[in-house]
């Protein structure tokens, strides 16, 4: 396994930006996820690493070796495609063996490795099936085995779970992560699904419009987003625009004063107040500092969502669904409530960090 380094990697399509000056390094055995809305340049980045797309400028390094000019077929990256890209005219075993064949292994050597790889993804019994005779999940595992069997220097995943149904997705997510950790694969993954990124990655790269917004661990991104875009993209978030009023309060454009601790904001240009719904406590009655009226209550199983109107603004709070008999259980729309949170939790961030 190698370390992957991208230096000022840039791709322009004519005048439009695909990826702009991306700096990133993925350590040996680390899984880094590129996360961002569709069209932000994730796939373009991955394709430049794989060698399918020549960068406009910048470099791609595997360990200290500059591979920017190396054609795709000499890079030894193992890629799992969003569409799986299994060869439809070859059996599962032949798909897995293709890379080995290209490396000049004879049939006997290939067989051993194919068997091993198929066993790794629990598909030994389906080795002779054609891709169209396999379910989506099985196809995905063949694609995984095919990419892993060649001992890739870098492991690349392009939205690997997006073609699976929700239940399977959660399962495969854990499976891939376990495999990646066990084999110590240096992995670059692309996804637009934040849950996928948060649960699988060691570090995340949030991108927008071809540029990096923030790089960090899931925790860092979730709790300390650098701007409103990241805050919103990484998880559900109340974002209110305005300015800080003093050291302990934020004034929204609607004139509402919200408790905060300005020390938690590292930036002077902060013009937004970001607070995650699950960090807000809802108390029945007009007792606290921040008071409002319930607009809507949505039951979501284990949790319940409260939309609370505070003058012209609204805040959303998500709480564990209260048991019958608790004060909150009796709450109805139009009831008065007050909201509370730890002052140190809200982030004061710029709307955009450009």
């Amino acid at each position: 396994m190698a370390q992957l380094t991208l230096e000022k990697l840039t791709k322009r399509f004519g005048t439009s930006i695909g990826v702009e000056s991306l700096d990133l390094s993925v350590n040996e055995g680390e899984l880094v996820a590129l996360l961002g809305p569709s069209g932000c340049g994730k796939t373009t980045t991955l394709r430049m690493v794989a060698g399918f797309l020549p960068p406009t400028s910048g470099r791609v390094l595997f360990d200290r070796e500059d591979v920017t000019q190396l054609p795709a077929y000499k890079r030894a990256t193992g890629m799992v495609f969003q569409s799986y890209a299994l060869f439809p005219h070859m059996s599962a075993a032949d798909n897995v063996g293709f890379g080995l064949e290209m490396r000049g292994l004879n049939a006997a050597q290939r067989k051993t490795k194919i068997d091993e790889a198929l066993k790794l993804v629990r598909l030994s019994h389906l080795a002779d099936r054609l891709p169209r005779q396999l379910s989506g999940g099985q196809q995905q595992r063949v694609a995984l085995a095919r990419a892993l069997v060649i001992n890739p220097r870098i492991f690349l995943l392009d939205e690997p779970l997006s073609n699976l149904d929700a239940k399977l997705r959660a399962e495969v997510r854990l499976e891939i992560r376990a495999l990646q950790q066990r084999l110590g694969l240096t992995t670059l993954m692309v996804t637009h699904d934040r849950e996928e990124a948060l649960t699988m990655a060691d570090r995340l790269v949030v991108m927008d419009g071809g540029r990096v917004r923030q790089i960090g661990t899931p925790q860092q991104l979730y709790d300390s987003p650098v701007d409103a875009f990241v805050a919103d993209f990484v998880g559900r978030c109340n974002i209110l625009s305005g300015r800080r009023a003093n050291e302990r309060e934020f004034r929204t454009t609607g004139g509402l004063l919200l408790p905060t601790d300005v020390a938690s904001s590292e930036r002077d240009d902060a013009d937004a107040f970001a607070l995650r719904p699950e960090r807000i406590t809802v108390v029945a009655g007009e007792t606290g500092e921040v008071r409002g009226r319930v607009q809507a209550i949505t039951y979501m199983g284990a949790q319940t969502e409260y939309v609370v109107a505070l003058g012209d603004e609204t805040l959303v709070a998500v709480r564990p669904t209260p048991d019958a008999g608790e004060p909150l259980a009796a709450l109805k729309p139009h009831d008065a409530v007050s909201l509370q949170w730890d002052r140190k939790v809200p982030r004061l961030v710029p709307q955009t960090s450009k």
Binding site: R47, A50, G51, F52, P71, A72, Y73, K74, R75, A76, T77, G78, M79, F81, Q82, S83, A85, L86, F87, P88, H89, F98, G99, M102, R103, R146, A147, I150
Partner: protein, 276 residues
């Protein structure tokens, strides 16, 4: 609703099926130089076509040329079809139309173009002379070579359009996946693109083979009066020999070969890629 198909069907019945049955019947008659056609029910004309060296040679030459042209066309068309199939720019529709255009211009016009090129002091000879490749003008007109080039020019667009439609339907990711696994360009072609183009190769080859078998204008104009293929031979039987039974038999054989290939092709492969 069903009534709407009746007029079209009646036309095809009267003008195609009827004459084909008539033709088959006439092919069983016999020819006499004095009475022209004598009523009979015998397979003599077919036997003659199969055993008489004159006809044998025409049939074999036609099959040989058709086979050779199909093969050469396939080799020549594949890169162009790949290029066209993978093209994503706005030029694509222009290239498709440009490929289609010569096809619609007609074979007589294109044969005339080759005649002008292949003439003793045509562009080909004068260019080669000037470049010093040859010292005396080549006799290209009225050779098998000229006919083969002319036929390839006629059928190339069909092959390119048929193949490119199939290549277009092969996901590009398969090529990337193969490269990712270590396959160079040539290996991607042999192991992924070619096998997956199979249906297009088969459909295009059958279509082109049939078109080659039925070549008329190109054979007559570029091959000259002594060059014989099936279609000109059929024509000659009617116009020069006034021998309806033999002409009908030859035509029917041509029809049988064409139909056999076409039906086989359409049963084995989707027909939608046929362009003409």
């Amino acid at each position: 609703m069903a009534l709407l198909v009746v007029p079209a069907c009646l036309l095809v019945l009267a003008l195609l099926i009827g004459p084909m049955i008539l033709m088959f019947r006439i092919s069983l008659n016999q020819f006499s130089p004095t009475q022209l056609m004598v009523q009979a029910l015998s397979p003599d004309n077919y036997i003659k076509a199969a055993t008489d060296p004159y006809y044998q040679q025409i049939i074999l030459a036609t099959l040989g040329i058709a086979l050779l042209c199909t093969l050469l066309t396939l080799i020549l068309a594949f890169p162009a079809a790949y290029w066209l199939g993978r093209m994503e720019s706005r030029w694509k529709s222009l290239v498709v139309i440009a490929t289609l255009f010569p096809l619609l211009v007609g074979n007589v016009v294109r044969s005339a173009g080759w005649m002008a090129l292949f003439a003793r002091d045509g562009l080909v000879n004068t260019s080669l002379l000037k470049l010093g490749v040859i010292s005396a003008p080549l006799e290209i007109m009225y050779t098998t070579k000229a006919v083969i080039i002319g036929i390839i020019a006629v059928v190339l667009p069909y092959m390119i359009l048929t193949l490119s439609a199939v290549i277009e339907s092969i996901p590009r990711d398969l090529e990337y996946a193969a490269a990712n696994l270590g396959a160079s360009g040539a290996r991607v072609f042999w192991r992924v693109i070619l096998p997956l183009s199979g249906p297009g190769v088969a459909a295009g080859s059958i279509l082109v083979f049939v078109l080659c078998m039925n070549t008329y204008a190109t054979a007559v104009l570029l091959g000259g009066p002594r060059f014989k293929m099936m279609a000109p031979a059929v024509y000659d039987q009617f116009v020069r020999g006034n021998n309806w039974p033999m002409g009908a038999a030859l035509a029917f054989m041509l029809l049988a070969v064409t139909m056999a290939f076409t039906v086989f092709g359409s049963v084995a492969f989707a027909r939608k890629y046929r362009t003409g």
